[in-house]
């Protein structure tokens, strides 16, 4: 993201419409760019005012009482067209995708039918998992998460993603919600070099420059931060801001199977087609995701997301949670990053103050 054309990215950021790497890039950029923070605040304010106005505008209006009375006689003279004999958009799209999708759907159905019927619903799994996540966050300790994330930007369904090679990175994050402290260090899984750092010690924000996000970084910028702001970096166990909550609200569209994890333990797998709010096709691309839960503890173990173009399905995002634990509240964490070798911390004044 550059400062001379930030608005599209900032709207998408506000609307939770960025991929995790895009979002991380914007977040990192916001730490160091006072102009964009001001711009973001103004855009957010405008969005809220527009939203509020639209809702107020129609809050009191409603169809007339005799709307159905007027409509019903007209329906008697309008015969429904025979089902699927004329080209609606869904029919056209089905034809466009053709037999490939039919075969794929049939294969998925066959696989699904061979799985054991599961007495636990998707809603129950998501609710129980949300409950343990919430408990971990509120019980006062420090949440420690290690993940291995694969991301292929060119295979991702986003239209405006940044081209680039597929990469696997190792993420390690600590979150202390009671004291507004957090840090996330991202390393390349092959070289172990640090590619991105973002965090706060309660008084300062730490971040690497956005343009350094693709390669190794050695400089971390420290910016004074207001002490009363909410922690800006949530614990993310699955792809996408608020993705877990969205999935809970849409649980009826998830399919559950009970399977075995890579280490042999029993897991629940929740599969959703077109995870982006049930839209099957966008520009000829469909998406699907599988989220893995420990069948006993309901902890999230990982996620795989696929994009299908022209009948070819490609994994574009994969996340494996290697460690998910809550440390004691007094655990010694170097929130000022002094334990990380090979980096230099440079103080930056906050131009926005």
């Amino acid at each position: 993201m550059t400062c001379d054309q930030p608005s599209t990215q900032l709207y998408a950021f506000l609307d939770n419409e960025l991929t995790p790497p895009e979002r991380a890039r914007v977040q990192t950029h916001l730490q160091t760019c006072a102009n964009c923070r001001v711009e973001l605040a103004q855009l957010s304010s405008l969005q809220k005012r527009v939203q509020s106005t639209l809702h107020h505008q129609v809050a009191a209006v409603q169809p007339s009482d005799n709307a159905w009375h007027n409509l019903a006689p007209r329906l008697q003279s309008v015969s429904p067209l025979p089902q699927s004999t004329h080209g609606g958009i869904f029919v056209k799209r089905t034809l466009f995708v053709g037999a490939t999708v039919a075969v794929l759907v049939f294969a998925l159905l066959a696989v699904w039918m061979t799985q054991n019927a599961n007495p636990v619903s998707a809603q129950e799994i998501l609710d129980r998992s949300a409950q343990i996540q919430q408990t971990a966050q509120t019980q006062g300790g420090i949440q420690h998460l290690q993940s291995k994330i694969y991301f292929n930007p060119e295979a991702a369904p986003s239209v405006e993603q940044t081209p680039g090679e597929a990469r696997t990175t190792l993420w390690e994050s600590y979150h202390d919600f009671a004291n507004n402290k957090a840090r996330t260090v991202i390393r390349d899984s092959n070289t172990n070099q640090i590619t991105e750092i973002v965090g706060t010690d309660g008084s300062n924000l730490y971040s690497t420059k956005s343009e350094q996000g693709e390669g190794a970084v050695s400089v971390v910028y420290r910016t004074p931060q207001a002490t009363d702001v909410a922690l800006p970096f949530p614990v993310k166990r699955i792809d996408g801001q608020d993705a877990f909550e969205q999935m809970r609200q849409d649980a009826q569209n998830a399919r559950v199977t009970q399977e075995q994890w890579e280490d042999g333990r029993a897991i629940y797998v929740l599969r959703t087609e077109d995870a982006n709010n049930n839209i099957a096709m966008q520009n000829g691309v469909s998406t699907s995701s599988a989220i893995y839960f420990d069948a006993n503890t309901y902890q999230v173990l990982g996620q795989d997301s696929y994009a299908t173009r022209n009948g070819q399905t490609t994994l574009y995002y994969s996340n494996r949670i290697l460690l998910d634990e809550t440390l004691p509240a007094d655990a010694a964490i170097a929130w000022d990053l002094t334990d990380i070798g090979g980096i230099r911390i440079v103080d930056e004044s906050n131009n926005n103050k």
Binding site: V50, V58, L71, V78, P80, F90, N278, N283
Partner: protein
């Protein structure tokens, strides 16, 4: 069997249930798109006639019923001739709009925002309504309007820039509004 499936098989009672369940969605969306209760009432009738005629096209495996219903509604609205645009909107009205307060929502500001939204082109207003009233995702909007995801983003960006311009600089509002009203 749910009401949609029963309505697809010709059950008139099920269609009445669908109407009752979704009439507000259609009516309020049309109201925001077309700008008057009378036009919204007409839209409600015409949309449900089309729904009755074409319900066989709807395939639940391919998307939510509401997505399909939004598409029928927006197709009607985008093709409907909007007389109000020429009757009620004038540059004089816009120029007389007081400057919006810098913070908070009040009646004067809401009226300014309403007028600015109405002054948007149909295409821009559609993405604003779907995003900020219906609270749909970009991909849902893309599917409903049958436009690429990138076009959704660029239209939202353009719409919000127009609104921002209209609200922040009312005395200089002629050009962008003129461009949107008379494309």
């Amino acid at each position: 069997m749910n009401p949609i499936q029963r309505a697809q098989q010709g059950d008139p009672d099920a269609f009445a249930v669908l109407f009752e369940q979704y009439k507000n969605l259609v009516y309020k969306t049309a109201y925001l798109m077309l700008g008057s209760a009378a036009d919204a009432e007409d839209a409600l009738q015409e949309v449900f006639v089309r729904v009755h005629r074409s319900l066989g096209d709807y395939d639940p495996r391919k998307g939510a019923f509401t997505t399909w219903l939004y598409r029928v509604t927006l197709n009607y609205c985008l093709n409907h001739r909007r007389q109000w645009r020429f009757d009620l909107l004038s540059f004089n009205t816009l120029l007389k709009t007081p400057a919006a307060p810098k913070s908070g929502i009040d009646l004067a500001e809401e009226e300014s925002i309403r007028q600015a939204i109405r002054a948007l082109s149909d295409k821009l207003r559609a993405v604003v309504v779907l995003r900020y009233y219906s609270e749909l995702s970009y991909s849902e909007i893309s599917d409903i309007l049958n436009i690429p995801l990138g076009t959704v983003k660029s239209r939202l960006d353009l719409a919000m820039k127009s609104l921002r311009h209209a609200l922040a600089e009312p005395s200089d509002v002629c050009n962008p509004i003129k461009q949107e009203v008379y494309p």
